[in-house]
């Protein structure tokens, strides 16, 4: 009997376990992982608490929603789907959503960043200074634009949802919540259907919301609300009377011409009044087409530049492409796929509407067709989700349960809508592809192609999109040649139908890029990525966020391929523009900085990388808090840099703090924790504390082998470090064996022109020389030196070391000419004779 070894048979252990179970629920607010809730406010939507998140010790705001009608499975799934998208937003001017779920008593809650501040309309005691107010509102509009680009519309923008902190920075609250928390299972939007919120949000509602037509709500709805806020903040009044009865207020929103702002307050001026009036256009088509446009015009005014007229419509198309692409890449959970289907089907419906407009059909016919289509699409999505609902418990749906019925449903529900039908099959194809169910992905893509062949004669944008889906599936299932063929065809079709700057053409090019990557046709893949970046620059302008993103991507590809000079020159320019346009604290500016720092480091330009990295880290600490994941990762990177530049003593406390923080955040087995452990070891090594070094490294290596696999890049680094220590302890033959293994792994883990494989081989040669096996070293070192020269250039410490050692070895073996030829390459970088 092993009675005493079972925890549940020992009353003390069992009681401790019960206590632990109890501890994860906090009193009052029954949400796991959050302590010390203090009620802050009660409102139409729910109760807001301040609490402490146990895992991070940070203060958070917890909003528990009133539970009217939200218990149903469909409503709950909608909530989760929406919140999932909102939670992916990371912007300094948007209050972050960290978590969401259901309390023990069945109410929905979200956990958000805790922001101290006052509502926008209370921030200025009297009439606000014009320029200051305009600047704050431009920042708000930029943040709204950021969310739109990620598929999230606010739907309830008003001063009480915009909090301004003591530094004058605005923070937007409750993004997407109006939709997420809408209580009806039918398609009505919350803003105007939920009684509690109805009156509170009415003055900022758009005409399309006032009409009660949820199908027509889009990004421009938020633009309108921003216009009302702008008008209100500048003049202290609403643009029309909303104080009367409900019907009168709705009437005014729909019909009343807004009073121009400069008529109420002359110093607002003609230009700003024009900006406000354009945001407040009743017809969405006549408004600013995006919050970004509104922000840019305000900024132009503030900079003394002329405000701009309407922009090219290609701009919109590309924006949608990029948005869709991002979502497809990340789609793995069923909620995401469901929203993706909804989004895409809607997009495709819009696309059809546009086609019809181009054909200049009669106005009424068009409106009717659009309404019918929107209805069919929404019915389809609902039926699809309903069909997959396992019972009525409101549990998560499994993806496989959704996709099969969806395919059949598309055939029935969308029978007379070939555009939408082929789009749905295309989406299903990529959903299957994300699940790595390639046979099914190919099957769905072929169905989409069949429809396109039959209905559109194998031409047009529909055929192109379907062939792109097939191409992506073929590439991912390991048939990149066929994938490339399909994608190339798809591209030609798209160019023919809508031109080279169209959404379909860009998607086809992205699929071509992945196929080329897999075929290891690196140069062509790069050329293509370059083309995508250039096209974005051409269509959207060099300072558009998408262009910066595409160029940042390209720069990262250069870096990953070891083409450091190109990476550096591109990224320097991206960082400069991004800092200017988006602001230095914007997270979008930090990604290219990180890659740029790595590229500088790889070239040994620590003088450039050090101040850049330190500044980025400081900004992140201020913006996201010192314990945020991103700040901790930058602390790690900064400690690495200090350690590499002989400032190990400074690096140690930074690295230790980062390790503690990341372990708290992610647990001990996370990859970043593994990296930091390695780093701290390295720091101790440099500080001369070598005790037990080898033993610990070996354990790190074993863990990496086990959890990441031998050919993971991190494992290769750790193995390299372990082998180095073996060498340092004089155990050269063991070191040689380990470095050989490491070099093989590096060949598989890194691309052929990356600097890591030759760096490992250079380490191998050093140990071969120390072991007295010089002729073996002479076989390997020239090629390694060649590759280091190519990937890192002649200035890198690695290249210099390798070439110096090689030349010395050649001298010693009676080949002084060869040695001299190599040495000369350190000066010129030319090919030796």
């Amino acid at each position: 009997m092993e009675t005493s070894s079972n925890w549940f048979e020992d009353p003390a252990l069992l009681t401790a376990e019960v206590k632990r179970a109890k501890a994860v629920r906090s009193p009052g607010l029954h949400i796991r992982g959050y302590d010390n809730p203090v009620e802050l406010a009660r409102g139409g939507q729910g109760i807001v608490y301040r609490a402490v998140q146990r895992s991070t010790h940070r203060q958070v705001a917890v909003k528990v929603l009133l539970d009217g009608g939200l218990a149903s499975g469909v409503a709950q799934r909608r909530f989760e789907r929406e919140i999932d998208m909102v939670a992916s937003l990371r912007h300094p001017n948007i209050v972050s959503v960290y978590d969401s779920g259901t309390t023990d008593d069945g109410r929905l809650y979200l956990v958000m960043e805790f922001v101290e501040g006052v509502p926008l309309d209370k921030f200025w005691p009297s009439t606000p200074p014009m320029r200051e107010a305009l600047s704050v509102l431009a920042t708000v509009a930029e943040a709204v634009q950021y969310a739109h680009q990620r598929g999230v519309i606010h739907r309830d923008l008003k001063p009480s949802n915009i909090r301004v902190d003591s530094a004058g920075q605005p923070h937007i609250l409750d993004f997407g919540l109006a939709k997420a928390a809408s209580r009806e299972d039918r398609d009505r939007e919350a803003t105007l259907s939920t009684t509690g919120q109805f009156m509170g949000s009415l003055p900022w509602a758009s005409p399309e919301q006032a009409v009660g037509n949820p199908d027509s709500i889009d990004a421009r709805t938020d633009v309108y609300s921003l216009g009302v806020v702008l008008h209100q903040v500048l003049t202290g009044r609403f643009p029309y009377d909303v104080t009367g009865g409900l019907k009168a207020a709705l009437d005014n929103i729909i019909h009343a011409e807004p009073t121009r702002a400069d008529r109420i307050r002359p110093e607002v001026g003609d230009e700003v009044s024009t900006i406000v009036a354009k945001a407040l256009a009743k017809d969405p088509e006549r408004r600013y087409q995006s919050a970004g446009d509104l922000a840019r015009d305000i900024r132009r005014y503030l900079a003394g530049e002329p405000i701009e007229a309407k922009r090219d419509s290609a701009w919109y198309t590309l924006r949608k492409t990029m948005r869709r692409y991002r979502i497809v890449v990340g789609a793995a959970s069923v909620v995401l796929i469901a929203s993706l289907v909804a989004l895409l089907v809607t997009l495709s419906a819009l696309g059809e509407a546009r086609h019809q407009r181009d054909r200049a059909e009669a106005q009424s016919a068009r409106a009717l067709a659009e309404a019918a289509r929107a209805k069919a699409v929404s019915r389809f999505v609902e039926t699809m989700l309903g069909a997959a609902d396992p019972g009525k418990e409101g549990k998560d749906i499994r993806v496989v349960d959704v996709l099969g019925p969806a395919s059949r449903l598309a055939e029935q529900t969308l029978r007379d809508q070939p555009h939408a039908r082929s789009a749905v099959h295309g989406v299903l194809s990529s959903a299957y592809r994300n699940l790595q169910m390639y046979e099914e992905a190919v099957r769905e893509a072929r169905v989409a192609i069949d429809i396109a062949e039959r209905e559109f004669g194998g031409k047009g944008v529909e055929t192109s999109l379907a062939r792109t889906a097939l191409a992506a599936a073929l590439t991912d299932m390991g048939r990149p040649e066929e994938g490339l063929r399909e994608a190339t065809q798809a591209h030609a079709l798209a160019v023919e139908a809508e031109g080279p700057d169209s959404r379909a053409a860009l998607e086809a090019q992205m699929a071509m890029g992945s196929a080329l990557d897999d075929l290891q046709r690196t140069d062509e893949a790069l050329a293509l990525k370059r083309q995508i970046a250039e096209r974005a620059a051409k269509v959207l302008g060099p300072e558009a966020q998408e262009t910066l993103g595409a160029e940042g991507n390209l720069g990262r590809t250069y870096y990953v391929l070891g083409r450091l000079d190109e990476a550096i020159s591109l990224l320097e320019s991206v960082v400069e523009r991004s800092g200017r346009v988006l602001g230095p604290d914007n997270i979008a500016t930090l990604a290219p900085i990180s890659t740029l720092v790595s590229a500088y480091n790889a070239k040994g330009h620590y003088d450039k990388s050090e101040p850049l990295l330190k500044d980025a880290w400081e900004r992140l600490k201020r913006t996201y808090g010192p314990e945020s994941h991103t700040a901790l990762v930058y602390a790690n990177n900064y400690a690495v840099l200090l350690n590499n530049t002989g400032r190990s003593a400074e690096a140690l406390p930074i690295a230790e703090q980062a390790l503690a923080g990341l372990t708290d955040l992610h647990g001990p087995d996370h990859v970043t924790v593994l990296r930091l452990t390695t780093l701290i070891g390295s720091i101790h090594g440099r500080l001369g504390d070598q005790a037990k070094q080898l033993e610990w490294q070996q354990r790190a290596l074993e863990a990496a082998d086990r959890t990441l696999g031998r050919t993971h890049q991190t494992t290769v680094y750790i193995r390299n470090n372990y082998a180095s220590t073996l060498g340092a302890l004089g155990r050269y033959d063991q070191a040689v064996a380990e470095f050989r293994r490491c070099a093989e792994d590096a060949d598989r883990a890194f691309s052929a022109d990356h600097s890591m494989p030759p760096a490992v081989r250079y380490n191998l040669c050093k140990n071969l020389i120390l072991a007295g096996r010089e002729s073996e070293a002479l076989d390997i070192l020239p090629r390694a030196a060649e590759q280091l020269l190519k990937s890192l250039g002649p200035e890198s410490d690695w290249t210099r070391g390798a070439i110096d050692d090689l030349a010395e070895l050649l001298d010693k073996h009676g080949r002084p000419e060869d040695a001299a030829a190599w040495r000369s390459r350190l000066k010129t970088g030319d090919t030796p004779r």
């Binding site: 925890w7 549940f8 009353p11 069992l14 009681t15 376990e17 019960v18 206590k19 179970a21 109890k22 999932d84 779920g101 959970s333 069923v334 909620v335 396992p390 998560d396 499994r398 993806v399 496989v400 699940l435 990262r556 990180s594 890659t595 790595s598 480091n601 990762v633 690495v640 840099l641 350690n643 590499n644 955040l665 992610h666 647990g667 001990p668 087995d669 990859v671 970043t672 593994l674 452990t677 780093l679 701290i680 070891g681 390295s682 070094q693 610990w696 490294q697 354990r699 790190a700 863990a703 990441l708 991190t714 680094y717 390299n720 470090n721 180095s724 220590t725 890591m756 760096a759 490992v760």
Partner: protein
Amino acid sequence: MYAQTTTHGTLLARLSGGGDSAAWREFCERYEELIRSFARRRGLSASDCDDVLQDVMLALTKAMPGFRYDPAKGKFRSYLKTVTLHAILRKSRQEPAGASLSLGDGSVSRAIEDETEDTWEAEWRQYHLRTAMKTIRAEFNAADLEAFDRYGVGGEEASAVAKDLSLSIDQVYQAKSRVLKRLSQVIAKQVEEEG
């Protein structure tokens, strides 16, 4: 004797028969929180945890039809752990672009504590406890449960608890030991069945 309607063994047998969707639903309900909180403790975000859950369930859909139930070996538990761990690792590898380690820094490191086993075991204990508590709640009256909770777990004075609940002090002692003993029995049975 026990309030649980479906035993773990029966459930596995139904699953290995394949195609029993009610069994799947029950299985998901049972293990969802275990998988989720294990993933959570290893640093994944809520939506990543959803993905992990999805991954695990997909893997099991494929594996279960041929799964051999062998109570002697404790196979299922370690199998589920392995599948979950793989799903988590796949997720954690999708690193943000910012996390880069500089090239070949040629020296030392300290060990990484591998707490995987501990974490899994802790979550597994909590899973059994939660499941058993459901049974217990159906078997005891509210006063006994509250007495157990406040005196046995919360460490309040027995006399104060007795007064609040209109029980004798002896009844409070008894409630504590009876609930604890029954809890131990229920968990023992669950563990035995689990294999």
